[in-house]
């Protein structure tokens, strides 16, 4: 099957859904590509790091406006591409096409929402069913998620992961040793790096409110950085009202890239531009005009208790 990826990208940018057989083919190609990528991807700076986008397609287009188009800008997406927003299908389709077209200019690592059980609860499954009339597309995407890399290192100095670290994951080598080609389990090292959160108040590991992963404190972060010879940890996973949050004396940053999350939270979003000398610059943005509730593309029902 000969596929014109530029045409696919152009079509999905106009929110024209690609048909099922094409999605199947693209997912299969993606799996082949990802098979060759290591658990921990090595990236050279400069790179722009993007946090959770959660199906907010217009805001993803906004990211490319604000941060520069791919492949002109080198991108790293920290996972959670789907669920919650109304355009998860378009979002993951676009990101997948970009990865296939420019494999060395965009890196996608896995988030805790790239999983079968979570996507059934948080909207991606429902959206696939609604947009394609069949759950088959969801199966193709979630099978592809099993192949995504799970962490990244920028110039061997900045460690990037979706959630954080856990007691079974003290070294980057431990992450390299994980068998990642499966659905995210409920516990163990793969769950920990997808689900954990920093806790500015604590020193060590503690039980997480989410029911999976752990919270980790200052001592854990310092030890991780020392042992693995990294300067900084970049992660996403947690909503930040200002778009980002820096903790532990500038040793850990949370990047959040979904503005007005769920069309309800009223938060800002950011992307983090890591320069050639690893200097960090936040580019803060708010929701795209098309993402506003009045826009026809967004269905009007935002949930509250009434």
């Amino acid at each position: 099957m000969k596929v014109d990826l530029d045409e696919c990208i152009e079509r999905i940018t106009r929110l024209e859904l690609l048909d099922i057989s094409l999605i199947n083919f693209l997912c299969e190609s993606m799996k082949e590509l990802l098979l060759r990528e290591p658990n921990v991807v090595h990236i050279s700076a400069p790179v722009t790091v993007v946090g959770d986008v959660h199906g907010q397609f217009y805001d993803v287009l906004e990211i490319f406006k604000v941060g520069g188009k791919c492949p002109d800008t080198n991108y790293l997406f920290l996972g959670d591409f789907v669920d919650r927003g109304h355009h998860s299908v378009e979002t993951i389709t676009l990101l997948m096409c970009l990865k296939l077209r420019y494999p060395d200019r965009i890196t996608l690592i896995r988030g805790n929402h790239e999983s079968r059980s979570i996507t059934q609860m948080y909207g991606f499954y429902t959206e696939c069913l609604a947009k394609y009339g069949t759950a088959q597309v969801w199966t193709y995407f979630t099978d592809m998620f099993d192949f995504l890399s799970i962490a990244a290192l920028i110039d061997d100095r900045i460690f990037c992961v979706h959630g954080g670290i856990g007691p079974t994951v003290q070294t980057v080598d431990a992450i390299r040793a994980i068998d990642r080609f499966k659905d995210i389990p409920t516990d163990g090292p793969l769950a920990d790096i997808m689900w954990s959160d920093p806790d500015p108040v604590k020193e060590d590991f503690s039980v997480s409110q989410r029911g999976a992963g752990f919270t980790f404190g200052k001592r854990v972060v310092n030890r991780f950085c020392d042992v693995n010879a990294v300067d900084h940890i970049l992660r996403a996973h947690q909503l930040c009202m200002e778009g980002y949050q820096i903790l532990f004396d500038d040793r850990l940053t949370t990047v959040w890239s979904a503005p007005n999350y769920c069309y309800r939270c009223g938060n800002k979003a950011s992307i983090l531009e890591v320069g050639e000398n690893l200097e960090r610059n936040f580019n803060i943005f708010t929701e795209a005009p098309e993402s506003k509730l009045e826009a026809p593309a967004i269905p009007k029902v935002v949930d509250y208790f009434l």
Binding site: T126, A135, T186, R210
Partner: protein
Amino acid sequence: MRSGYFIDDYLPFFMQPLSGDAGPEAVISTAEGSARIDPGCVHSRLTRPAFALRQVAYPDRRPPVINRGTYIRVRLFDWAVEAFLRQPGVGPGSLQVVSIGAGFDTRPFYLSAGARENLRTYVEVDFPEVVARKMAAMQQADHFAQTQGLDLPFASVYGPLHASAADGDLPLSLTSEKYALVAADAADTAALGRALFDVARLDRHRPTLFLFECVMVYIRPAAADGLFAWLVAPDTGFSSVGMLLFEMIGGGDHFGEMMVKNLKSRNIQLPGLLDDLGAHRARLQRAGFLQTPSRRTGFAGFNLHELFARVVSRAELRRLNTLEPLDEVEEWALLMSHYVMYCGYSEAEAAGAKSATQQVAHPWEAFQQRCFAQGCLESRSIDRAAADPALGPIPGGRLPDGGRTGGRLSFRAPSPP
């Protein structure tokens, strides 16, 4: 003896969809919305396995944040009403409950036998449009059950239901022994008075609990003040009245602004929206409900985020996490801290004097404590069926209690159909 079917199974099947979503219909649509949420919520009927399975497969699946929030709201009101009605030392048929803006709620038909025994009257009040549709739905549900040879879900609880059309000043109503569904605009105290005293025949000297479950936000502040003042008016008000109120607050932040904006685009206005719990308390004080000489009063309130952490026991939280884990903790915190729930009471001194001489805890004070007691939402204690042996065992057995120890996630997500 109850049949194997449950009341809430019926109601959604018999409701006609609303046409259009503009203007005053929009508030009525919130009743619809709540009714749709309730059956779709995995949590509120968790102890009934057949029902829970149906909910999990329910196509209109809500986000976990909404399901969990609906859970806490529904369960807390269930718990509080049971706690009020099953207080010790009251005679049978001595307590009254009034639910303002009750919508398509079916709570009165789920009360335990002990609660029903102490109940004198349970009144549900809402707009005529809602009352008419609920009446029709209830009657159809009973009729359907009859054709199937099953127990009538509604008529078998308090006896036969008599419908009365609106006639001059008398509103549309559906009444039976101990239960009344009456049409009235709560912003009009004259109409409310007719509904409660003429139709539902309430006794203003009996202890009465008012439920304001997300309703006062839709009422203009002046009318709301009027309503609270009317509740405790010297010669015409209730001598011993408590209230339980749940609704959103503005919070004075971005989230609150966004909420107002989002709802506006659905034509839902919030004229009565207050900023925080302090503003609610101040309003009750202004109305003479709280801190009035010659009345014994009390107030205790929380935002839902802290309340959830307080009232949900560890075992219950484990069970919730087993059925549907919650990933979005920050969003949960944001959303829930923009909702408040409080209990207030106001009792004329003469009525209260009796209990003081008996050296027991003041009943309203005790109720307030029980309402928000730490860990009070424990599966077993509020399971409607288990609380009342007369109802018999739950068909199909009980769901197992939670998964492994705290901090661990156990998914039991359904496989796609």
